[in-house]
């Protein structure tokens, strides 16, 4: 049962990841690409969490949480960059 659910979740997240990547590629503005990258990072957190269950190594959950922390800092930094860009 669990294996089936995990496979399903992998597929759903992979499709979601594909959508995020399409948004990054298409843009059209820099803000859209940042938003796409932010979503991709969040989805990666989910993928790592499912992977932790697959291999039953719970340390991966800590890695997933750490990635979530880093992802937020990255988005905040990108947002600041976007604002500073206007003044050039």
């Amino acid at each position: 049962m669990t294996d089936l659910v995990l496979d399903g979740a992998y597929v759903l997240l992979a499709v979601a990841m594909l959508m995020a990547v399409i948004r990054v590629l298409r843009g059209p503005t820099l803000a859209d690409r940042i938003l796409g990258l932010d979503l991709a990072t969040t989805l990666a957190v989910g993928l790592i969490a499912i992977f932790a269950v697959t291999v039953r190594q719970w340390l991966y959950l800590d890695i997933a949480i750490a990635l979530a922390l880093v992802g937020f800092v990255a988005s905040a930094a990108f947002a600041r960059y976007l604002i500073s860009q206007r003044h050039q």
Binding site: L6, I34, L35, L39, G46, L61, A68
Partner: protein
């Protein structure tokens, strides 16, 4: 217990997918931020909790709950930062935006 965890993971993955669908389909940055800042993080947070429940260890469950809390508290902040940056750097909203009281105030 394990069934509940499976269900939580599945619901989370569905939320994440629908959030991504919104990011792909919505017309402009601001509407896309709605999708990216709500459905996405909540879905991934649920996956995290479901995965933690599978471990059956209280300490790990506590940690993933804190992870969920962090994700849902911080995603609106990231969305707000990005929306503000987009607005100030002059990213236009979609043509169907009927009212814009920001530009009329500046």
């Amino acid at each position: 217990m394990s069934y509940a965890a499976d269900l939580i993971i599945l619901i989370g993955a569905l939320f994440a997918l629908l959030g991504a669908l919104g990011v792909l389909r919505f017309p402009d940055v601001y509407t896309r931020l709605h999708a990216a800042s709500k459905a996405g993080p909540l879905g991934v947070g649920l996956i995290l909790v479901g995965a933690g429940l599978h471990s059956g260890e209280p300490l790990i469950v506590l940690r993933v709950l804190l992870g969920l809390l962090f994700l849902i508290l911080v995603s609106p902040i990231a969305a707000h930062l990005l929306a503000r940056a987009a607005l100030r750097s002059g990213v236009p909203s979609s043509t169907s935006t009927s009212i814009n009281e920001f530009t009329s105030n500046h």
